[in-house]
Symmetry: C2
Subunit: 298 residues, 2 copies
């Protein structure tokens, strides 16, 4: 077994944002906390903390933290069965990777009540659709929302529904770039907006119109910024319908070619043995996400 005294010290320093407060929470002296961290680093063979204000975990530190969080979730179950075991009462933390567009739209509404009720704190990590799974495989997160169906070993994947994207731009942009209507060729020469290197939605849209290869584009790795750029006439891009209902209604964003959406399925990946709380969250999420996402089975 690992030495959880050391791991708990690491978790406390990060969660309490400092050695002093970590020592208070753990009921130890500050130098005892320091020593535990140093001992942990000696065992691991590398630093687990960047000594900044507040202290931040190194990559290996983050993996250890996630492990502690998962162990705590499991402990929660056994504590519910054997209540005398309970020592603490600090809220649980769960580290979850999800795509920026989910975080900008349906995520908070779907899990807010659950997290509040269960006193669950979230460490959210934003990753483009396909990257979250790599984080799971690396043991860096307990669960992730991503577009890929295939679970990593030891995990399960559940279909939540799909995000519906539409290729949109401002009316000014459309008038300027497509005076005679939106054709595939004109679109290939108008600037696009791309979220980042993993965002191939614009490529897919063009490819569906028979246009292959590169195209001029702005890079904007922010969900909200992407919409602001589109609104300000920088370019066209695929935007979650959910996120711009107001802009569509007010005519600030217009679909380029009528009713030509791309549906991106979203799966909830979670560890099989992640404990009862993760199972409950999964159960809750599969119900709640359905209210916002498109049902692909229809």
């Amino acid at each position: 077994m690992l030495d959880y005294k050391l791991l708990a010290a690491l978790a406390a320093v990060v969660e309490q944002a400092g050695f002093e407060r970590a020592a208070q929470v753990l009921g130890l002296s500050q130098s005892a906390v320091s020593q535990r961290i140093k001992l942990l680093e000696a065992r691991v063979g590398q630093p687990v903390l960047v000594r900044a204000v507040p202290p931040a975990p190194t990559e290996i530190g983050r993996r250890l933290l996630n492990h502690v969080q998962q162990v705590r979730l499991l402990e929660r179950d056994i504590q519910a069965q054997v209540p005398g075991l309970d020592e603490g009462g600090l809220p649980e933390r769960l580290r979850i990777a999800l795509n920026a567009d989910s975080l900008a739209t349906w995520w908070a509404g779907a899990v807010g009540a659950f997290c509040t009720e269960q006193r669950l704190l979230l460490d959210l990590v934003v990753e483009d659709q396909e990257v979250g799974l790599k984080r799971m495989r690396a043991g860096d997160v307990a669960a992730c929302v991503c577009a890929s169906e295939r679970p990593v070993a030891g995990a399960r994947a559940v279909l939540l529904g799909a995000m519906r994207y539409r290729a949109m731009a401002s009316p000014g942009f459309i008038a300027r770039n497509f005076p005679t209507g939106v054709t595939a060729q004109a679109l290939a020469h108008a600037p696009a907006i791309v979220f980042g290197p993993d965002d191939l939605l614009q490529h897919r849209y063009l490819s569906g119109l028979g246009v292959e290869g590169g195209f001029a584009h702005h890079l904007c790795p922010s969900s909200e910024g992407f919409i602001r750029l589109a609104q300000a006439g920088f370019g066209w891009g695929l935007i979650p319908e959910l996120q711009v209902q107001g802009e569509i209604a007010r005519g600030e964003l217009v679909e380029l070619i009528s009713d030509r959406p791309i549906d991106v399925p979203l799966y909830w990946h979670h560890w099989r043995n992640g404990g009862e709380l993760l199972n409950q969250l999964t159960h809750h999420l599969t119900q709640a996400a359905g209210h916002s996402l498109v049902d692909l089975r229809k």
Copy 2:
């Protein structure tokens, strides 16, 4: 001098999202483009491209790319004076780091018309306030918007104005956590939302109320997601007033303690010899940002 044939090949492969299309644009065979990249890698002593679909620059590749972009900006000036020099007509690219909250609010409106007019494509990099400068120092971006006043060597910093943040939460969260009013002590025990390890606004707010040390918090590195979490009652946090005027008007978000804002100054850092286009952008930006940001000199 560097061999710009090799650097142009790198830029073309990244900007055109593939070797085939880069070859078309450069008027070369695909194998000639490949050879140029390999030669560049041999000189640099490490890979400049990750061979994925689309190809992505490595860290060193990104620095080289930014250098090419800056050289192109300078070329633009000399071409304007000596028009016969012009070879191409591809739009210019400029790599700029800015904080997520600026990108989610005033940035697009302030520079949209300028970029469209100048056919300028932006590679935006999202960094929390204090980190953008590190990118400048590393030569990774041509300009950045950040909270720090002091320019790096060779650069200038101009005050654009300030983002006004207010500590806000949903009415439900306030009723649940502060039934008898918002006191410093109650606030220290209610869950907060923090953008990331560099976001110390919540710490500053608590510190201003005499509360020091750590506190329970969700981590949410997304500007829009942060607001969605606050709206859904996950926690309280400092939110740009600009971004939630609708939510405030509709009573979906409420300031915790009346009229207790934190103003974060924003500076535009740009290379002194970044060329005429960067100077024009700077001139334009210092005017346009003032419409959205708070004037600190008043």
